[in-house]
């Protein structure tokens, strides 16, 4: 139910039946892309997309911008902590 892994679509093998080849760390498998295909994203345009793979289906596209934002936030959380530590050690009150 939860086990999903991001992979990259490297080939659309059967646009009519919405089948594509996904690559996860060099391992390839045929997956069904019906969940990520619509008028604005026809099957053929999916090559190069990063998707979440679950039980042989691409469930959704990975939002690469959001991924970057989350990582940046995680980075920032780390930095803020260092700042707080520095302030504490210098004896100043917390902001």
């Amino acid at each position: 139910m939860c086990l999903g892994i991001p992979g990259k679509i490297v080939q659309v093998t059967d646009p009519e039946n919405k089948l594509a080849l996904v690559d996860v760390a060099g391992v390839r498998r045929q997956i069904n892309i019906a969940c990520i295909v619509d008028e604005s994203h026809p099957a053929e345009s999916c090559v190069g997309d990063w998707v979440l793979v679950h039980v042989g289906f691409a469930m959704i596209r990975v939002d690469e911008n959001e991924a970057a934002k989350t990582l940046a936030l995680l980075e920032e959380l780390g930095n803020m902590q260092d700042e707080l530590d520095a302030m504490r050690h210098s004896g100043r009150p917390d902001a």
């Binding site: 139910m1 939860c2 086990l3 999903g4 892994i5 991001p6 990259k8 039946n17 996860v24 760390a25 069904n32 019906a34 969940c35 990520i36 295909v37 619509d38 990063w50 979440l52 679950h54 039980v55 042989g56 289906f57 469930m59 959704i60 990975v62 939002d63 690469e64 959001e66 991924a67 934002k69 989350t70 990582l71 936030l73 995680l74 980075e75 959380l77 780390g78 803020m80 902590q81 260092d82």
Partner: protein, 376 residues
């Protein structure tokens, strides 16, 4: 691996944990107990144990392992139904791997296979459909289980069968819904939960809207969270931040995967093929209204429950079983009287010991010896 390794970076863990510690210290809800945060989903339970996250967390908070493991909550009666289907000589019974070990009242699917039933493990429902294509003289029954995450793939497979005119394929539907489950937990009188780590992949399908009642009616925060260890730490941090600031909202930590509205295409496929059952039986939790789906009558041909006669008996859990209380977070696995004695992964009495995401199995396998807290 992209979008995976970055979220397993231990370098970012230390500071997140310090922030979690600080927040946990600050929060005072007037309770004489640690904060209780439930991770609903079996996949989260698995990550927590796999990476040893529990011991990294401060003592002021505790993780309570929820019932979001579809294999764990499979009632014995349904397993007996699976075995009965598999024992039809013309049937090829196709199932996900981890369901094969769940004990029924007499045997599991694995044991049925050892006795001659044609039970085959598949990774995808499409593989089951392929079995039907390759064996036209046999009846292929696919055992569909899982929450909303897995419903779209089952639904789309059924639609594909219809499109191709494949007639020797049917679905034994055991898909369950997450919202009634969470509601049942919230309604429990012994409930002692302060917040939730919400299921990331279910939400990828259903979006954020269905959880709003948790914040509005029950005033509990829920953060939809991803499955990598940094995701879980960040999710916990976000829940604690809400508690510290007196908020109760539905937030989304897993924004790279979960859109606010979920996946409409997937939802449409699900709604086309399935409808809610009035009630459905859960191991350990009993009967919950509207917590399962069945195949609509338009697709009756593909419904194994209509095509075959199954025992359909309600089998009670063994008396010694305290799975229900563990699932609701009332007791910890170690506090169950049969934990580790008559109930072990080798001889499971209840659902939570069967699947590797079950709280008891995870506790037993990964954490039964107290390991000293590592120097961070």
């Amino acid at each position: 691996m992209k979008y995976v390794d970055e979220f397993r970076d231990p370098g970012k863990a230390a500071s997140l944990i310090k922030r979690i510690e600080e927040l946990a210290r600050k929060i005072d809800l007037g309770q004489a107990r640690p904060l209780h945060i439930m991770e609903v989903c079996g996949g989260h339970t698995h990550t927590i144990f796999r990476y040893g996250i529990k011991q990294m967390l401060p003592e002021a908070m505790e993780l309570v392992h929820g019932p979001g493991c579809p294999v764990c909550v499979l009632p014995m009666g349904r397993v007996d139904d699976c075995v009965a289907l598999a024992e039809h000589p013309e049937v090829i019974f196709a199932t996900f791997g981890d369901a094969m070990r769940v004990p029924g009242s007499k045997k599991s699917l694995l044991q049925a296979r050892a006795e001659g039933a044609d039970v085959r493990m598949v990774y995808s429902p499409l593989d089951a459909l392929d079995l039907a294509r390759r064996h036209p003289a046999r009846e292929v029954v696919f055992f569909g289980l899982g929450f909303e995450t897995t419903m779209p793939s089952t639904a789309l497979t059924l639609l594909q069968a219809e499109r191709e005119g494949i007639r020797n394929f049917s679905l034994f539907c055991n898909h369950i819904t997450i919202i009634p489950t969470i509601k049942a937990i919230l309604e429990s009188p012994d409930l002692e939960l302060d917040g939730f780590i919400g299921p990331g992949h279910v939400s990828m399908i259903i979006g954020m809207q269905p959880y709003r009642f948790i914040a509005e009616q029950y005033q509990k925060p829920l953060v939809i969270t991803g499955f990598e260890p940094l995701d879980i730490l960040q999710g916990i941090w976000m829940v604690l931040k809400q508690l510290a600031e007196g908020r109760h909202e539905i937030e989304n930590q897993y924004q790279r995967i979960v859109p606010e509205e979920g996946n409409r295409t997937a939802q449409d496929a699900v709604n086309r093929v399935f409808e809610l059952r009035e009630f459905f039986e859960w191991r350990g939790l009993g009967s919950i209204d509207h917590s399962g789906v069945r195949v609509r009558k338009e697709y009756a041909w593909y419904d194994a429950e209509r095509r075959f006669s199954i025992p359909n008996l309600k089998i009670a859990d063994p008396k010694a079983c305290e799975c229900g209380d563990v699932l609701k977070g009332i007791i910890k696995p170690r506090e169950c009287k049969v934990f580790g004695t008559s109930c072990t992964p080798e001889t499971p009495l209840g659902a939570l010991m069967v699947s590797s995401e079950g709280a008891c199995a995870a506790y037993y396998t990964y954490g039964r010896t107290e390991i000293a807290k590592p120097g961070v």
